[in-house]
């Protein structure tokens, strides 16, 4: 009986985020325009000075997988931000008073956010040929799996932060100081340098780096420049652990039946 209500709750929240996303043309345009501008402007600015050691890789091609991850990261941040208002003055209130469990609320919202993030990434990936990755040569199953795990992990983290912080300014402060630097030192913008062991260590401990690495492999082959040491299997294992830990964190946060007063 309860399992049926949980499935219903997951379905409702998941569907709702997708319906809302595809109904707002401005969000669709923004979802495409922002990364294109970012990729084009920073990419061409850096192109003249960027030299990848031991590779002929141009910067626009190098930067492209990093921008795919940026799309996923920002989408996860912005879609889970809505949890804060929605919980006290919005649809989520009604869901929380309904018969679904708190865990089903977390899973439904995270799947909704992750699906929006993946839809945005898919739009941007239509430009892959322009970056030098022909669509036919892309390992789509690997790409889908890597981005799905990354977006679930990031959306779950966003949910947990939103629930615990419970105010919009605090949420932005935490996400911008935590996630944006993680993206920057993920190998998305510049490769690991053997001259900076500290940076290399930070990168090894950074889950976003494994997401960028798996995306590079899916787009440019298993030994694409800028990937993490180790195999694609390790990239995916780290991402799966990242998603699982953050989901658990979000469920724990949401189980607290506290009142804001």
């Amino acid at each position: 009986m309860n399992a049926g209500y949980d499935a219903a709750t997951v379905g409702v929240l998941w569907r709702r985020d997708l319906v809302r996303f595809f109904r707002q043309p401005s969000r669709l345009v923004g979802a495409l325009a922002q990364p294109v501008l970012f990729w084009g402007i920073i990419g061409s600015g850096m192109a003249a000075t960027f030299r990848m050691p031991g590779s002929e890789e141009g910067y626009l091609r190098y930067f492209y997988p990093g921008v795919v991850l940026m799309v996923v990261l920002f989408a996860a941040i912005f879609t889970t931000l809505s949890v804060i208002e929605d919980r006290h003055a919005g649809f989520l209130q009604a869901v929380l008073a309904g018969p679904g469990s708190r865990a089903s609320v977390v899973v439904g919202k995270v799947l909704g956010s992750a699906s929006v993030a993946l839809s945005q990434a898919a739009l941007f990936l239509l430009l892959a040929p322009a970056a030098g990755f022909p669509l036919a040569s892309v390992d789509w199953p690997l790409l889908a799996l890597a981005l799905a795990l990354a977006s679930v992990g990031l959306a779950a983290l966003g949910f947990a932060v939103a629930w615990l912080v419970d105010n919009v300014q605090g949420y932005h402060a935490i996400q911008m100081t935590l996630l944006v630097p993680l993206w920057i030192v993920s190998g998305a913008m510049f490769p690991r340098s053997p001259d900076h062991p500290v940076m290399a260590a930070v990168m090894r401990a950074n889950p976003v780096a494994y997401a960028v690495s798996a995306t590079r492999r899916a787009l440019g082959g298993p030994d694409a420049p800028g990937t993490m040491p180790g195999s694609v299997g390790r990239d995916l294992a780290v991402l799966a652990a990242f998603a699982a830990v953050n989901l658990a964190l979000a469920v724990l946060a949401a189980r607290r039946r506290g009142a804001r007063s």
Binding site: R20, A89, G90, F91, A94, L96, G98, P99, R257, A259
Partner: protein, 325 residues
């Protein structure tokens, strides 16, 4: 059963309650919001909690809606305990929050259908119920408009319709007409009655509006986290003897003290007025006018008591500025 009688929550003659509470307590740190609240609601009745802001209404509502766990006490639905693990039982309740809980970007109909899906109402059934509820709420022609584009009164009616889409046995509403004008208030109550329709769901609500309290079958008077009386609106009103003499003054507190001292009358300051309960109130008017020099007050009038007066009488507390006639 003995416990029920001791806490004073039972219905007379052992009549079974649809929704009951026994000794609910809750504190925010040192501040006690609910101090042992017990009550019993009959099946099919409209039961209101009347009290000013800060009386504990919102806390009580959050506990009834399952969003807050009480630090002591328990809730019973048809005699069965209602706690965090009784979600199937919770599915028999419908909740309308004071804050909006519609999705403003989705249409009125979509809001109803998502609400139905949460409670596992089959799809075809949800479609026909949504149509019927929109009709009863007077929103048939707005079915395809985004909820955010509806007026405040319309959104209230849609919220109530959404809370009833799974045909709950108990409809729970938190201050359902706060912020609505008199016309929207009447329309909300009309559609609440027609939405409830033949199903006859039990209605439990919180309010600080005397007009809303008057629409209830029974009222629990809530003051400082305690229930001080559970009565019908008529019996609560009959506690106020005769008329209410209303004196508008610049310094109501000082004037109330003086009236009490010089005329030996039970005068209370309430907002910018002094209220005096009195049988044959009109006879008091000339006495007041003669006893105080010109300028001490702006006007004196006599009116029939309202539930706001009855609340003041029962608790010594004011319901708040919105409740004044």
């Amino acid at each position: 059963m003995h416990a029920v009688l001791e806490t004073g929550s039972g219905l007379p003659g052992g009549e079974p309650a649809r929704l009951a509470a026994e000794g609910l307590r809750f504190s925010y740190g040192d501040r006690v919001a609910l101090d042992g609240v017990s009550f019993a609601v009959r099946p099919g009745e409209v039961f209101g909690f009347l009290g000013p802001n800060g009386a504990g209404k919102s806390t009580l509502f959050s506990i009834l809606a399952g969003l807050l766990a009480p630090s002591a006490g328990r809730l019973l639905l048809d005699g069965r305990p209602l706690d965090g693990s009784s979600r199937a039982l919770r599915a028999r309740m419908g909740v309308v929050f004071q804050e909006p809980s519609l999705d403003a970007k989705l249409t009125a109909e979509e809001n109803l259908r998502l609400g139905a899906a949460l409670f596992r109402v089959p799809r075809a059934e949800a479609r026909s119920r949504a149509r019927a509820l929109l009709e009863a709420a007077g929103l048939s022609d707005r079915a395809r408009d985004a909820a955010g584009k509806l007026s405040g009164g319309m959104r209230r009616r849609l919220e109530i319709a959404r809370a009833l889409v799974h045909r709950p046995d108990v409809l729970l509403l938190d201050e359902p007409t706060t912020g609505l004008d008199a016309l929207a208030f009447r329309r909300t109550w009309e559609s609440l009655r027609s939405l409830r329709g033949a199903s006859g769901a039990t209605v439990v609500l919180t309010t600080h509006r005397p007009d809303e309290a008057a629409a209830c079958d029974r009222l629990a008077v809530l003051s400082r986290g305690r229930i001080v009386a559970v009565e019908t609106p008529a019996s609560l009103l009959s506690r106020v003897a005769g008329d209410v003499v209303v004196v508008e003054a610049d310094e109501p507190a000082a004037l109330a003290g003086e009236i009490a001292a010089r005329l030996g009358l039970p005068a209370r300051a309430s907002g910018e007025t002094v209220l005096i309960e009195r049988e044959r109130g009109h006879e008091l008017v000339p006495r007041l006018v003669e006893a105080f020099p010109a300028g001490r007050f702006r006007s004196v009038s006599v009116r029939r008591p309202s539930l706001a007066d009855a609340f003041l009488h029962a608790t010594g507390e004011d319901l708040g500025p919105e409740a004044r006639p």
